[in-house]
């Protein structure tokens, strides 16, 4: 089994999963801090109509126009949510529910109506995505290595996201923790908000082909949540999110080889396992760690009481 994991195709799949999971993990950490995990959920569902319309025009799943379409859809859904809950008495959670279900439904209808029987984009791939084709894809020569061509856009998105986060680290951090203070420094919170949403939509689309529209929520939220259970320092949290993304990619592909299942779902299942481990044993917030601490505290207390008497 280990031998089959070491096959070169599997390493390409792991690389692909990691490249897709990496930007999601970094952005997801900020989503968790901003308590907007479910906006990520909404965006990942509603990117679908944007992708479908763009695909109907260009007919190519790896075209950059898909990113544009999805970014527009992503900003559109955040805008719709804002409109619904600002102008009526419907609360944000219901507004999210209304907006993303209708856009997702629109996407599903458009797939059937616009694309008909075109093979590459059907409903299963919306849900599950597909990573295994990396192994059979045509290769391109990059710096002397033969690299599957579908990895390249994912790599570009990952690098660009990484660079963007490094450049705007201060703005992002500040506006996540205290949007009032950020505004007083002259950063526009609405601007940061919508830009973040647009970037997330782009990342979601680049993950779309690999993991589909729904599993990407897990890639967004699980690493950040797992890291948050281990540390409350932001930089460390980001690093741990990346570690989570990497280890769940490796473990996930291994799982899928072991059980002969979908790689995309395998990566999320692996991520879930890591989350459960952190939930139990996480140094910052783990259930068992806290229980031990509590017991030590009561022991100390009773000892000191004993000493007093």
């Amino acid at each position: 089994m280990i031998a089959s994991l070491l096959r070169i195709d599997n390493w390409w799949m792991i690389t692909m999963c990691f490249l897709v999971a990496l930007p999601c993990a970094l952005l997801g950490a900020f989503l968790i801090l901003r308590r907007m995990s479910l906006v990520g959920d909404a965006i990942s569902h509603s990117a679908l109509p944007g992708i479908v319309v763009a695909f109907a025009f260009v007919g190519d799943l790896s075209s950059p126009w898909l990113l544009v379409g999805a970014a527009i859809a992503g900003v559109l859904v955040t805008f719709l949510i804002e409109q619904i809950h600002r102008h009526t008495r419907i609360k944000q959670d219901a507004a999210i529910g209304i907006a993303f279900t209708s856009l997702f439904a629109l996407g599903l209808v458009l797939i059937r109506v616009l694309l008909g029987d075109k093979v590459h984009l059907h409903q299963d791939s919306v849900l599950e995505g597909n990573v295994s084709h990396v192994a059979y894809a045509a290769t391109v020569n990059v710096f002397g290595f033969d690299v599957p061509d579908s990895i390249i856009p994912a790599a570009i998105v990952a690098v660009v996201t990484l660079v963007l986060i490094m450049i705007f680290y201060r703005v992002l951090t500040l506006s996540s923790f205290d949007s009032g203070l950020a505004a007083s420094f002259g950063y526009k919170p609405a601007m940061v908000h919508y830009t973040l949403m647009a970037v997330i939509s782009v990342v979601v689309v680049s993950a779309f082909e690999a993991v589909g529209a729904i599993l990407v929520i897990a890639l967004l939220i699980l690493p950040g949540a797992t890291a948050y259970l281990c540390t409350h320092r932001l930089k460390l949290m980001l690093v741990l999110s990346v570690v989570h993304a990497l280890s769940s990619s490796i473990l996930g592909v291994y799982l899928s080889v072991l059980f002969n299942g979908k790689e995309s779902a395998g990566v999320v299942v692996a991520g879930t396992i890591l989350f459960i481990i952190a939930w139990m044993f996480g140094p910052a917030d783990g259930v068992i760690i806290k229980a031990i601490q509590r017991r030590n505290n009561t022991l100390e207390e009773s000892n000191s009481k004993l000493l007093k008497h």
């Binding site: 995990s37 529910g97 939220i221 299942g261 779902a265 299942v269």
Partner: protein, 445 residues
């Protein structure tokens, strides 16, 4: 055309006797009823999380039953949904993660487990649970749906009072001595139950649309919970039947997405057109109010000019008015036109001055009276400083009703002057001045 319509009618009559529309009605009732509480309690996305969380249960049901037995699938899905709720609650209560993250984690990881499991086995028919397919509903499915709709409706009817209290104020429910934990358990159980019921019709992903959208639409239409529940059920049924009928028009359409889109369309209409809470009606109300306030401010400025002249003339020059209002000449002329159209003023020849008519004069005095009475009230009864009261009075003067003004006058013992020493025009004084100005004018001509 007529043939088409009658064909459609026959088609409708034939199809209404089928299983699919009955199932659609069941879903409308179930989700519509529970959706009201979901929207009011702000747990809309818990419905979404549950609907994704039931998926591994569906797969387990396929795994452990030989012939796609709906009862076993139903039971497994229900258990998975409840497990999802429990995990969400456990994450929130035992860690610092907020409920949004907990919902996202449960939603995505349960769903992924389902997908992974399904991909290792490749069951046929699981997909109809993902996207919803009314056409594959069997007799057993239908009985299941009818039975569970009945159970959900009866339970909600029985527990209407505690559920209602719980949705608006959980603390109050505890105070009343309701077993809140038990009731919450029942509520989330029912929620999981109805999600599973709706699963076949609209699918895992779009169940939350059926839970949220009709109820939210009803929430925009009424303030009473009974009415909201009725409307929500009605809208749910309309959306389910309408979506299913549209899906029948073309083989490429599926019932799940179509039902969702019909519900969203009804919501969009309501969002704009609802009589009280709609955006359009709010906008119209707001702009009506704004133009009234503007008109009244013009009247007030005219009054103040006449007052500073010692009530000698009934009219003011437009230029003078522009100066007091700090607006352009054109703008003030437009404002004057508004007053004239409203019967509150008339133009002098050549439109260089405005004369207040009798109703205009009375309204102007009323606004000034409101303003100055309120200022006096704030300084005398609420201990405000005299230089802090103007802004407040500027706003309230347009809203005070006749009864409140009479009461203010009585409470302040029919005052003559405001805190700044300006006279408060009482009703009688206004009429007197009106007569005096009228006479001057008669003699003047």
């Amino acid at each position: 055309m007529i043939i088409e319509i009658s064909n459609f009618g026959i088609h409708l009559a034939l199809t209404l006797g089928q299983k699919a529309p009955i199932a659609a009605i069941c879903v409308g009732i179930c989700c519509g009823l529970l959706g009201c509480f979901v929207v009011l309690r702000r747990v809309a996305l818990l419905g979404d999380a549950i609907s994704h969380a039931v998926f591994p249960g569906v797969v387990a049901g396929f795994m452990w039953s030989d012939e796609r037995n709906p009862w076993i699938i139903f039971l497994c899905a229900l258990l998975a949904g409840l497990l999802g709720v429990i995990v969400v609650r456990a994450i929130v209560s035992s860690t610092k993660l907020k409920s949004d993250a907990a919902l996202g984690i449960v939603l995505a990881s349960f769903f992924a487990i389902g997908i992974f499991w399904n991909s290792t086995q490749q069951f046929v028919g699981v997909n109809s649970f993902l996207f919803g397919d009314l056409t594959t509903i069997s007799d057993d499915d239908l009985w299941l749906m009818l039975g569970s709709t009945l159970i959900v409706s009866v339970l909600i009817f029985l527990f209407l009072r505690p559920f209602r209290v719980l949705s608006f104020d959980e603390g109050f429910a505890i105070g009343l001595g309701y077993p809140v934990k038990l009731l919450n358990g029942l509520f989330f159980g029912l929620l999981a139950f109805s999600v599973v019921v709706a699963l076949q019709a609209v699918g895992v992903i779009l169940v939350s649309a059926m839970l949220i959208t009709p109820a939210a639409t009803a929430y925009l239409l009424t303030d009473r919970i009974q009415k909201m529940m009725g409307l929500s059920v009605l809208l749910g049924i309309i959306a389910a039947l309408g979506g299913w009928l549209i899906a029948n028009l073309d083989v490429r359409f599926q019932s799940g997405p179509m039902i969702t889109l019909v519900a969203a369309f009804i919501f969009a209409l309501t969002y704009f057109l609802a009589p009280r809470h709609g955006v359009l009606s709010k906008f119209l109300r707001h702009s009506g109010m704004k133009s009234r306030v503007h008109r009244e401010n013009t009247l007030k400025a005219i009054y103040r000019i006449i007052e500073s002249d010692g009530f000698k003339a009934a009219g003011v020059g437009v230029e003078q008015l522009a100066e007091v209002r700090k607006l352009s000449f054109e703008q003030v002329s437009k404002d004057g036109q508004q007053l004239v159209r409203n019967g509150e003023a008339s133009w002098e020849e050549g439109k260089s001055a405005i004369y207040l008519t009798s109703p205009g004069w009375r309204r102007a005095a009323e606004i000034v009276r409101n303003h100055r009475l309120w200022e006096l009230y704030l300084t005398d009864q609420a201990d405000y400083a005299a230089d802090h009261v103007h802004e407040d009075a500027e706003k309230i003067e347009h809203i005070l009703g006749a009864d409140t003004v009479r009461k203010l006058e009585r409470d302040l013992n029919f005052p003559e002057f405001d805190p700044h020493g300006k006279p408060i025009p009482s009703l009688e004084a206004t009429l007197q001045i009106e007569r005096a100005i009228g006479k001057q004018e008669e003699t003047g001509y």
